[in-house]
């Protein structure tokens, strides 16, 4: 089942990367002093790209990346005027929170593929509104917060064999895909569920397996985050 999803995702990524996509923003400034931001569990998955082009998820890398990235994100947010809270994780999450994280993945992917500035931007989508809907209010009450920050990242790394295959194919003028880092972050207003700030990255660099790399990625992803 997930292999079909994966293929589709790879196809979309290939399309985006071939278009040399750069980061895009929904911009936002704090409206008043209500700046309590709850940090949702970061939805990260790292995988290893085989010679044949399969992305095989790697549990060890992912566990490390989750830890490094979460710490980097918290440090980065400490430089802003936001008052940061941390949400429950894993099995301690309330069901509505799990559903909102799943929904954010869908909304964020739509923003990435069809949002403003994309080559596939929807001509009929003119109100510029992207939202998780009113059920986001649950988080406002649950964590006594005004906003929630959602992060979703998928990152793949070419294995040694894949690098060899890329080089050999290159000799014949055929370009094979290497590792890709693809992620987005959204600040959601918990009164309305609307995405008020959003940034995405799709690039062939980035390294989440190390502390320094995680910090660099967090900085990149939070470019333009309200100060």
């Amino acid at each position: 089942m997930f292999s079909v999803l994966r293929l589709t995702a790879v196809a979309v990524v290939a399309l985006l990367v071939s278009g040399c996509m750069t980061a895009r923003n929904l911009e936002f400034e704090w409206q008043n002093d209500d700046r309590r931001v709850v940090l949702m569990p970061t939805d990260i998955e790292l995988s290893n790209l085989t010679a044949g082009g399969m992305a095989v998820p790697n549990a060890e890398w992912t566990a490390n990346a989750e830890k490094h990235f979460f710490n980097s994100l918290r440090d980065r947010l400490a430089q802003t005027n936001a008052e940061v809270r941390v949400s429950n994780k894993g099995l301690d999450q309330p069901p509505t929170q799990i559903k909102l994280i799943k929904l954010h993945e869908v909304v964020g992917n739509s923003l990435l593929v069809f949002g403003p500035g994309s080559r596939l931007a929807l001509p009929t989508k003119t109100n510029g509104k992207w939202t998780l809907g009113p059920s986001a209010r649950f988080l406002k009450d649950h964590y006594q917060s005004d906003y929630a920050l959602f992060v979703h990242i998928r990152d793949s790394y070419a294995s040694g064999e894949r690098v060899a295959a890329i080089l050999v194919a290159g000799l014949f003028g055929v370009g094979l895909q290497g590792g890709v880092q693809r992620g987005f972050a959204s600040l959601v207003d918990l009164n309305t569920g609307d995405v008020v700030w959003h940034n995405s990255i799709v690039r062939q660099q980035g390294e989440l397996r190390t502390i320094d790399g995680a910090r660099e990625t967090a900085d990149k992803l939070l470019t333009g985050f309200p100060g």
Partner: protein, 417 residues
């Protein structure tokens, strides 16, 4: 011929392609049955008979090592499972969930704690097992099984997938084969014969599907041994497939399944193989089928399963299914009612009469939901029998005074239709 060597290489690949179809399927069922008789025990000569990348059974409570690819699969499924647990499609009825979980434990024994069952409201004959022990069971399966032995055959099959780590085997198989394919494609590109690369791709797909079918055969044989160990009559495992075949054959102009691309072996093969294997089990007829307990466990929810079945609009196979359920003979009034619903909703030539006749049979049997009177009323109205329709509507409102559509039905009674 201009390029004889090119044709030759295509032919060779063609041969490779057919070779992957010729593994002895009977042997696979049989060997797996023997292995399943003592699950967890490694059997040297069996590993040679069944292609398995030398993967041993999981031990109770075992999690794969964090560095392995298998751990990656578990991680993905752990994530997916948090989503499943909150899925709106999940059947939360505590009694049914307890009942199924108990049977899982009876079959899994010391592995009991490794499995979580999620009953999903999907009207198809299906179930699945994830590498981390997340088991999905569709309500369409529960509607189709006749007894506890049939349910345990399915659970045994799914548990076999887990113990034999088929997801991990398939991942290894896919990585190895797609890597080899990449190499062949590069080489054929270098040699200027791209067509060889294309043939190789076809061969790779065929070979991966063939591996998947062998996994299914292994799970069938292994699962059969597990159900026998738990005290269930193994012939019921074969009977499931007889039921599936009957439904399938009721569909007119059913397209032939693609033997090359199928992930599962054909139902007829599974029916026969399981039949043959059960006949080797001693005193099998003294083992349990557990029909009464099973039917009692699903009775309260079965109507909803049938309602979902109707939404598929696959009338011919659904009618064959209802025939089988009537032959089983549990709560026939309810089955007649949903058969009537099928005719009423289909509304083909002559269906009004068929629906009315089905509702009459349902009423004669008794044990019908209040909803029957509404449907009966609507159908009588369609047949022009206004007085009878009004009476049916009135009975509906008496039996279901708080029905959500009360006002509409009231309106139809008062407006004299």
């Amino acid at each position: 011929m201009k390029y004889p060597w090119k044709t030759l290489s295509l032919l060779c690949l063609g041969l490779v392609l057919t070779a992957c179809q010729t593994t002895s399927s009977k042997e696979t069922y049989r060997s797996a049955f023997e292995r399943g008789a003592t699950p967890g025990k490694q059997v040297e000569n069996l590993d040679k008979k069944i292609p398995s990348y030398a993967i041993a059974d999981l031990r109770p409570g075992e999690r794969p090592e964090l560095k392995s690819d298998e751990a990656g699969l578990w991680m993905m499924m752990d994530r997916a499972e948090t989503g499943l647990a909150t899925s709106g499609n999940r059947v939360n009825d505590p009694q049914l969930n307890d009942y199924v979980q108990k049977i899982v434990c009876k079959i899994a024994r010391e592995y009991c704690k490794d499995f979580r069952v999620y009953i999903m409201r999907v009207p198809n004959f299906n179930a699945s097992m994830a590498p981390n022990g997340t088991m999905l069971l569709h309500t369409g399966f529960l509607l189709r099984t006749k007894n506890e032995a049939q349910l345990s055959a399915l659970i045994g099959h799914e548990i076999a997938h887990y113990l034999r780590r088929h997801s991990s085997q398939r991942l290894k198989d896919t990585i190895a084969k797609t890597n080899a394919l990449a190499f062949i494609q590069l080489a054929s590109m270098a040699a200027g014969v791209g067509a060889v690369g294309d043939m190789a791709m076809l061969a790779t797909i065929g070979s991966m599907k063939s591996f998947s079918r062998d996994n299914e055969r292994e799970a069938d044989g292994y699962g059969l041994a597990l159900m026998v160990r738990a005290g269930y009559d193994p012939i019921e495992a074969a009977n499931i497939w007889a039921r599936v075949i009957r439904e399938r054959d009721a569909i007119p102009d059913n397209p032939q399944r693609n033997a090359f691309l199928s992930t599962h072996p054909p139902s007829d093969e599974r029916n026969k193989a399981l039949n043959d294997l059960s006949s080797t089990v001693e005193n099998a007829n003294e083992l349990r089928t557990g029909e009464t307990t099973y039917q009692a466990a699903i009775a309260a929810l079965r109507g909803g399963f049938m309602r979902d079945e109707l939404a598929k609009r696959q009338h011919s196979s659904t009618l064959a299914l209802f025939d089988m359920l009537l032959e089983d003979g549990h709560l026939p009034g309810e089955i007649h009612f949903y058969r009537g619903e099928l005719y009423r909703l289909r509304n083909d030539e002559g269906d009004v009469d068929k629906a009315l006749s089905a509702y009459r049979k349902a009423l004669a049997e008794g044990n019908v939901p209040a909803e029957l009177y509404k449907s009966h009323g609507l159908t009588l109205k369609r047949a022009g029998k206004k007085d009878a329709a009004r009476m049916a509507f009135s009975t509906y409102l008496e039996l279901a005074p708080h029905a959500a559509d009360r006002k509409m039905i009231q309106f139809m009674i008062e407006r004299k239709l």
